[in-house]
């Protein structure tokens, strides 16, 4: 990347250095996607085999309203989670970015530390926290409130989704906030802007690329979550991730599962593309876009 302007030999070397990354992406991303895309048109056999061949039946079956219902619910949950994570992530990122330079790395590491624990263990921890014997319910009972266990509930699902994806929201927002000149805040204050105006007119617009990355990085993976709704939501309202697991395993229908995966994949790509377009339109109209790269969101 450094020697873009130097002669051809080093450009060749540049391509060579790119090779490992391209190989990894081809092997781990493109090849599996091609396999899934191929399987989505295959004929299934009732014993669970994949007979190959070509059929559109799998996609036709997905027209059943039950799939639309689950997809709609999943998109809603993903959008809600992306919104909640981005708002909370903004607050956390702003707090960290306004601390002294020395404390910032420490705070960032603290954000990551819980994530060194296994995902499933952390999910079970939420059951304990919000369950009937847990501290939250005990406290409410001490205060004389007749409280029932919060597991299973929509609230428990929302909370643990926020917890699972918060760092993913904090990092890109923090990254774009760091490049905001701190004197802008003083300038805003000098010109009589209050807390709300300072954020709405300076910090939010200037960290827009980070906010957009945060929305994408939380929205897309939430669509694939399947453990949290079962353990904390009681599994009564499956997300599309649960449905795909069921199709692949209990229903012994790899092709149908593959077709549903493709639908989800296309929805994800569309939402990433939409975010990219919005960002490009924004940065075209914004004047202070020098240090920001609007392509980052679409590259994710």
């Amino acid at each position: 990347m450094v020697d873009v302007n130097t002669p051809r030999t080093s450009r060749a070397a540049g391509y060579l250095m790119l090779l490992p990354a391209v190989a990894v992406i081809t092997l781990l991303v493109i090849v599996p996607m091609v396999v899934i895309a191929r399987d989505s048109f295959a004929v299934s056999d009732p014993l669970g085999g994949n007979l190959g061949g070509f059929t559109l039946d799998n996609y036709a079956k997905l027209l059943d309203p039950v799939y639309a219902k689950t997809l709609g619910y999943s998109l809603g949950m993903a959008a809600l989670n992306a919104a909640v994570c981005t708002v909370v992530g903004y607050i956390v990122a702003y707090y960290i970015a306004t601390r002294p330079a020395k404390t910032q790395p420490v705070l960032l590491v603290l954000v990551i530390i819980p994530f060194l624990t296994d995902f499933l263990v952390r999910t079970f921890a939420w059951i304990t926290l919000l369950g009937s014997g847990g501290p939250f319910i005990s406290l409410l009972r001490l205060l004389g409130v007749e409280a029932q266990s919060l597991v299973p509930s929509q609230l428990a699902v929302t909370l643990s989704l926020l917890y699972a994806f918060l760092p993913v929201a904090v990092f890109p927002i923090y990254a774009s906030m760091r490049s905001i000149d701190p004197s802008l805040k003083e300038a805003a204050a000098d010109l009589g802007a209050g807390w709300w105006q300072t954020h709405a007119r300076i910090f939010v617009p200037l960290s827009a690329s980070g906010l957009a990355s945060s929305v994408m990085l939380t929205f897309v993976p939430t669509l694939g979550v399947f453990v949290i709704p079962v353990l904390l939501g009681g599994g009564k309202d499956p997300l599309v991730g649960n449905l795909i697991v069921t199709l692949f395993t209990e229903f012994r229908n790899e092709p149908l599962g593959a077709a549903l995966s493709m639908v989800v994949l296309v929805l994800m790509l569309l939402s990433v593309a939409a975010a990219g377009l919005i960002l490009r339109a924004r940065s075209g109209s914004a004047r202070a876009g020098r240090s920001r790269s609007p392509k980052k969101a679409s590259a994710v």
């Binding site: 009732p46 014993l47 669970g48 085999g49 059943d64 039950v66 799939y67 219902k69 689950t70 990551i112 994530f115 296994d118 995902f119 499933l120 079970f124 059951i127 369950g131 009937s132 014997g133 266990s149 597991v151 299973p152 699972a164 994806f165 760092p167 993913v168 990092f171 890109p172 923090y174 990254a175 760091r178 490049s179 990355s213 990085l217 993976p221 694939g224 979550v225 399947f226 453990v227 079962v230 353990l231 939501g233 009681g234 599994g235 009564k236 499956p238 449905l243 697991v245 069921t246 692949f248 395993t249 209990e250 229903f251 012994r252 229908n253 790899e254 980052k296 994710v300």
Partner: protein, 357 residues
């Protein structure tokens, strides 16, 4: 550079979250090396105690590798992919049927077996594998009801109690299609092994009617929920976790519903085309010994299929625990859940509607 690092960190975190979510439903896997003097087994998690493996290794000098799975479907798809490297697998009853039809397991040569007579009567010539041509049952259990009497306030006798509105929000069903249909069919007085479209539709209606009463579908930690009283009544598999819940709390009981019971059994089968056939037969013969079979109860809290093993179980309270060994009189009408064949489509259509309702 710092900014790039941060972006990288965010992406890495995102993928780590997704990946760990995947592994939550996964299995441990390190395929053992195939060769002389080795045996690679693919079995249900928690069903082969270490004591059995160590004893076998000490006696035969064969090096055993055990990988575990937590669903038949995972196991079958791994074998179907080919070159799994496994010699012995442990399918459940309906999985035996599927694997026979797909030629994934080999026919067992009875003349090479010793101790086959030790098996209890109901596991000899079972409905899912006539003549035991492809499977030797190892552990068995039932699908029944786990309930907390402090919460229900009354004795629970059958599936009908899982439709009792008094327990609304505290009823849990297993998150498994065929298991849920056991309750749905038997509560209507129908056979759990039916393949009749109208009967399955009746069960679907019952399950739809039940859904508003449910706390949830759960195959993971329902025993804990019943123990704490967060669940009053749950459809449950007998075995380790149910047995522990019954032992730990005197209010928790495990029963076989009066409408009928169902049995499951996990059997050892030899993988078709294995390179270690001799070692596989040595394994089958070793696990047919009563003193070895008794270890599945002592060390894994599961019921043994070996009739001669019962009196050799060191802790006889385990044999009396209904969450491990269901009482014989409750099993008179019990049947094995077998593969529904073409009727699977009726179950799937119904189950999809139930789950999405």
């Amino acid at each position: 550079m710092n900014k790039k690092f941060l972006a990288f960190g965010a992406v890495a975190l995102a993928s780590a979250t997704v990946l760990s979510a995947c592994s939550a439903g996964g299995d441990a896997s390190s395929t053992g090396a195939a060769g002389s003097g080795s045996l690679s087994i693919y079995a249900w998690a928690g069903e082969i105690p270490d004591s059995v493996i160590e004893g076998f290794e000490a006696e035969t000098g064969i090096d055993v590798t055990v990988d575990t799975f937590d669903s038949n479907e995972t196991m079958i798809s791994k074998l179907a992919a080919g070159n799994s490297g496994y010699d012995v697998v442990e399918p459940s009853q309906y999985a035996v049927q599927l694997m026979v039809e797909r030629d994934l397991i080999a026919e067992i040569d009875k003349s090479k077996l010793e101790g086959f007579d030790n098996l209890a009567e109901k596991f000899v010539d079972p409905s899912f594998d006539p003549g035991n041509t492809h499977s030797i049952p190892w552990a068995w259990g039932t699908t029944g009801i786990l309930y907390n009497e402090a919460c229900t306030g009354a004795e629970v006798t059958g599936w009908a109690d899982m439709w009792n509105p008094d327990y609304a929000g505290k009823v849990y069903m297993l998150d498994n299609m065929l298991s849920a249909y056991i309750a749905g069919l038997q509560v209507n007085g129908l056979s759990a092994t039916t393949t009749d479209e109208a009967e399955i539709a009746t069960a679907t209606d019952s399950l739809l009617e039940q859904k508003p009463l449910l706390g949830g579908y759960n195959s993971t930690n329902y025993a804990d929920l019943v123990g704490t009283g967060d669940a009053c009544i749950a459809e449950a598999y007998s075995g380790t976790t149910a047995a522990k819940a019954v032992e730990a709390n005197p209010d928790v009981h495990y029963i076989i519903p009066e409408e009928g019971g169902t049995l499951w059994t996990d059997s050892f089968s030899i993988v078709a085309g294995t390179a270690n056939e001799d070692a596989a037969y040595q394994w089958l013969n070793y696990t047919l010994r009563p003193e070895v079979a008794a270890l599945v109860t002592d060390d894994a809290s599961l019921a043994s299929t070996n009739a001669a093993a019962l009196e050799l179980v060191a802790d006889q309270s385990q044999v009396e625990n209904p969450a491990i060994y269901a009482p014989a009189d409750s099993l008179t009408n019990s049947e094995f859940i077998v593969d529904p064949g073409d009727a699977l489509a009726y179950f799937q259509d119904g189950w999809t509607r139930v789950r999405a309702s």
